[in-house]
């Protein structure tokens, strides 16, 4: 599963990807931050189109393997109500060597943020909440002439 309503488990991902062929392990974790664009944040609600998000996360993992020649790429994203400091996303990459591991992990998180249908609603200390603007998905082009 790539989406979870429960706390993300880094150790479980490390165990699942353990591989003696790999000399490099890169982990990226995103956490709920105190401040955004001048506002004090208290929490974030994450929601998703789960079927499309699961599929897109799988596609990004597969594309990372092919693009960078790495051995493992796993992505997990949390859904639901997260308090400050909680992990919202994990990227785990294992590869033979560090250059491709760093490069792939950076590409994977950047691509996740551009392509996966997940939305964050930030809650503020001053009251109220806002959906962040986000990145429009590339609409599918027409197949018709």
């Amino acid at each position: 599963m790539h989406l979870s309503a429960e706390s993300l488990d880094l150790q479980a991902l490390l165990d699942k990807t353990a591989d003696d062929r790999c000399g490099a392990l890169v982990v990226f974790g995103g956490t709920v931050r105190l401040e955004n664009e001048g506002q004090q944040v208290t929490a974030i609600d994450y929601t998703a189109h789960t079927a499309l998000a699961e599929k897109t996360l799988r596609e990004i993992e597969a594309e990372a393997l092919e693009r960078f020649g790495i051995t493992h790429c796993r992505l997990q994203h949390r859904l639901g109500h997260l308090e400050l400091g909680e992990l919202s996303v994990l990227v785990v990459v294992r590869a033979g060597h560090r250059p491709e591991a760093f490069e792939a992990a950076r590409w994977a998180i950047d691509t996740l943020k551009e392509r996966v249908p997940i939305w964050k609603e930030e809650f503020y200390a001053a009251g109220g909440s806002e959906y962040l603007e986000g990145t429009p998905l590339q609409s599918k082009k027409s197949n018709r002439p």
Partner: protein
Amino acid sequence: MATYEIEMYGVLRRLAEAGVVSIEIEASQSTVQALLEELALAHPEVYDRLEQVACAIEDELVARDHSITPDQRLALIPPVSGG
């Protein structure tokens, strides 16, 4: 006339005050674009957002000229902000 259900996500859900809205259009006009045009009339509060919305049926993104049947639910995907 046929009834179609449209799933709203992200900010659209807040603006429409609903996770799913129902739209009626002529069955002969049943493209994604026709549904979006009718949605804009029935829910003008989401009109400004539709230009940047991607459309999906189940786990597939679809073009706006894609034909749709009443047993399929159209999902509207506003700009994404995960991470």
